[in-house]
Symmetry: C2
């Protein structure tokens, strides 16, 4: 066994070229063992075993600096840079994150989780090196899927101008999360087909030197290629052809399914946990949209590289035909495309995770809202109950989206209200509409919900009471109900409960009306407080005697948090909230 | 004269091919006349006269749809589509905007002002057409300068996938606002040098068909080329080589200076108004940075296609050498680059207009703030006194930037404080720091300003009083002083005046302390209220009896507004504010 003795890249370098394949085999076994017990990014890491070993065999990290794009393929890098225990010892599996992290190791340079950034970040390291007279190699590792993002292109085009050492390893496994989309991928295909010899070469067209390695899972072929570009004096692309999921048959066969996954049995790849038969908003949305599509050829669903968000499995994509568009990882294009489709009379629905809508503020503002086109955006996992890696938080979409003029951002409280809003959003022709799909499990409420949301900013009073009014937004409506009940049982207060529905505007008539018989208004929102919904309510009541308590999340980059703990730390429980309300009422 | 009789594209089509050059001459004369008297985008429009005439000669607008990128080159299009009077009649010069605008004409499809969006928007029109079985031509017109933006690339790569009619006219005048930057531009050069015949072709590498037209200012050559691609069934690039500023010698000679300009004398091109010898923050910042650079080789200034923002004239760029980087129009890359440089030990300062920082929220959050790298961003024209086109508003940067965890966003009130903050920001190694350069004229205050801003969120009490506290942020500090004076003279109130300095956090000790002898707190900010600074103050005081009045701008897309009027409409005058304060104090 070599792997167990590797505590730094120096230990890799001590091996002979002949020993490297065995090291790779061991690493792949260890990886598979952890992945099968722990889950994680499966395909991307299995495909990068040889390339990562070769990188550390040839280059001198951390003096030479390797920047991983998205960094979901950095597990092997972690194994080779002092963190092997986190892969060998089940007790320590969670001692490392799923992404590069400078706090974990001097071999990690950035905390990364969104795609298409590595080349630009590496350009920064190049510039810093050149200004300070350094001589180390700067290496960016970027997958073919990430190349569809505009930031990657901006980085590549600018890398060519640096004119000094920089190595860009393009890990071409012929896949994004799902299949790739965009004309670029025909060029990658051409380059693979011609062993990199085609004259028409995307990378060369941007002024970069270029080298092709067909055997992207042959560690010695890779080491040779990397050696040939080490200390190069021009920005150089090394295009390596790898196999996503390499070495694990199910992952090689079904690449989309095995991109990321929960624990599984290594025999056959069946999941350890029984598949949940709970309903989820992704699947429900997909079914809804397919039904709409069958009645209206103008309806079109848009994804930016994550078709599963909208429930568009490969089968559903087949059914939708040209009424489904995956633009690849290109969120900016997705929003502008949706705006253009709406301007042309189509009925676009763009489905996106909260964390990735961050990539298109300007497109929301300029391409969409200034033009007032009736595109629909469904925002998923905008919630404390969403993804919990620091790079994938879903807390920030309200300040991002809701402060743009012209946007109608809706917060349904449950399944029925969500689909009522989606139905309306698709039919209307007046506004860009975003809908914040509730986080957590699917909740049903058997009550009739409004079908027309065209008169904007009308909140709905669900329970009429006095003294205290609870404005409970979206997924936190249930918390609002709990506060309502506790106020009654603990203090005998018959409070008012309001479902605000509209994040983007104030129901000033209702708010003014509350002044007559209420002394305290509380707001509950499933997101960061700063720039959010509650602050608008606080501003409205600022000049008045009304007391306002805003509940939501503190502005911070929480990382790998437990939702229940983070909520409690932010006093997001009916018990703590009622405590605060009573204290305020008692005039403290 | 043909031009005066053109009231729609039909009138262009009635002319013979032989008559077109004369029409172009007339249009250029009319254009120059208006530009010289009114100012506007000079170079881009002079270069596009022939191409625009040829487009309308060949295609059938508005059935065929032309989408102009940035649309600052759409003046000739406006002249040919029913808006000639706005160019002929000085009384009506302002009846059209400087950009395409669907409210002005059925020939305009989008309100556009930021670059790199046309291909994506046109892709939307293509998709809508295809879903509905239409057959019209969809044309995007994009300048070479705009091609550096990531959204343009995402659009081009996805355009290739549509596989139906779409024509992308690349207007290559060898210039962005300043010179172009990025490896792409070597490929455009190669294509020009080889008359489009080089095998290594950026556009073809993305899967697009391609046609080159060397004579981009020969209307008949263009008409012939456009005719050849009309009704094409594949996405096709028509790469035309034009001359920016064509037909006006000073603009042809000095392309950067003549991109946009104020009224000028047609003889010699000298400005009509005497050059203002007022100081401006661009020039001052450039001088400051050049001085820093001369002492510290790690200091580097970054621009994304607008080097003038930081005062980097061609001469200053020369002086800075490799300590100045223009990345072209690529704001995302600029932020990631700055983060990388800071991570590598450099001292980057990225200078950008408020309206364009909108293009990089995710880079600010992910590439920069999650990593906590000490890059410096100077945000210019974040102010009601900035650019006033709806596409270039500077109101929204506070909600955009200030709600990101880890960011320190500073609001200096004057020149001295600005440079004290910039000095500190460059020296410190702890935080990403953005500085909101005050809008309006340069204001000096002869008082000693803090040199160390490292203890975050400490507001500065400038005048200590009682009853009313005025929190006057950044450029609105002067308004705060006016309110202070008027409160004294009108009501005998000795109010407190606070310079908050930090937009990103609350000085809770100071705010709590105000409770002791103040009943009203007002906030003044030079930006939109929603998601802004004032709302955080309102949230803080929400549970308390303190009355809070927030002043700033309503959330709306104002267009071509007069600053004084917009301010008054938002009650941003000392008179109106004091009226409100007294009303609140009197317990209404």
């Amino acid at each position: 066994m070599y792997a167990e003795n590797i505590s730094s890249p120096r230990d890799v370098k001590r091996l002979s070229a002949e020993q490297l394949p065995q090291l790779c085999d061991e690493i792949r076994r260890i990886l598979l063992e952890k992945l099968s017990r722990h889950g994680g990014h499966i395909g991307p890491n299995l495909g990068m075993v040889e390339a990562t070993v070769a990188l550390h065999y040839v280059f001198d990290s951390p003096s030479d600096k390797i920047v991983f794009d998205v960094s979901h393929q950095s597990y092997v890098h972690k194994m080779l840079t002092g963190r092997m225990e986190a892969f060998l010892d089940p007790q320590r599996y969670d001692s490392v994150s799923g992404y590069t992290n400078p706090r974990e190791s001097e071999h990690d340079f950035f905390n990364v989780g969104h795609t298409s950034t590595s080349v630009s970040l590496a350009c920064g390291l190049v510039k810093a090196r050149d200004l300070q007279g350094g001589r180390e190699n700067i290496i960016a590792v970027i997958g073919d899927g990430s190349l569809s993002g505009g930031e990657a292109y901006e980085g590549l085009s600018n890398a060519a101008e640096t004119g000094t050492n920089m190595i860009i390893v393009v890990n071409d496994n012929e896949m994004s999360i799902a299949e790739n989309h965009g004309g670029l991928y025909r060029n990658l295909q051409l380059l693979r087909d011609t062993q990199g010899r085609a004259e028409c070469n995307f990378f060369r067209s941007l002024g970069l030197d270029y080298l092709y390695v067909e055997q992207g899972n042959d560690v010695n072929a890779l080491a040779e290629a990397f050696s040939s570009v080490k200390d190069c004096t021009r920005p150089t692309v090394v295009h390596i052809h790898t196999c996503k999921g390499k070495g694990f048959a199910p992952a090689e066969a079904e690449k989309e399914r095995w991109h990321y996954g929960a624990p599984f049995r290594r025999e056959g790849g069946t999941p350890v946990a029984a598949p949940a038969d709970d309903e989820d908003y992704h699947t429900l949305t997909g079914e809804f949209l397919l039904e709409k599509m069958s009645r209206d050829p103008r309806v079109v669903a848009i994804s930016s590289g994550t078709p599963g968000v909208l429930g568009f499995t490969p089968e559903n994509r087949e059914r939708a035909g040209r009424q489904f568009v995956d633009v690849g990882i290109a969120e900016e294009h997705a929003v502008a495309l949706a705006s253009g489709i709406a301007a042309g009379g189509g009925r676009p629905v763009y489905g996106v995770y909260s964390t990735f809508i961050q990539r298109c503020y300007d497109q929301l503002s300029q391409d969409l809202c200034i033009n007032g086109n009736p595109a629909v955006i469904t925002v998923f996992l905008g919630s404390v109950m969403g993804m919990n890696d620091v790079t994938h938080l879903g807390f920030f979409d309200i300040p991002l989206i809701a402060n743009i003029p012209g946007m109608v951002y809706l917060a349904p409280t449950c399944r029925e209200e969500y689909f009522a809003m989606l139905e309306w959003a698709l039919a209307q022709r007046e506004h860009p509409v975003a809908i914040r799909v509730p986080g957590g499990a699917v909740v049903s409420r058997n009550e009739p919900f409004e079908r027309d949301y065209g008169i904007l900013d009308r909140y709905r009073t669900v329970v009429e009471g006095d003294t205290v009014a609870i404005l409970a937004l979206g997924a936190f409506f249930g918390l609002g109900e709990a506060v309502l009940r506790r106020l009654k049982t603990e203090a005998g207060i018959d409070a008012t409960l309001v479902n605000p529905r509209y994040i983007t505007g104030l129901d000033t008539a209702l708010l003014e009306n509350l002044k007559r018989s209420h002394r305290v208004v509380i707001t509950l929102e499933d997101g960061v407080l700063d720039g959010g919904f509650g602050e608008k309510i606080a501003r409205h009541y600022g000049p008045s005697p009304m007391r306002v308590l805003n509940y939501g999340l503190r502005k911070e980059f929480a990382d790998r948090y437990a939702a229940a703990e983070l909520m409690r730390a932010n006093r997001l429980s009916d018990e703590l909230i009622v405590e605060d309300i009573l204290e305020t009422l008692n005039g403290k």
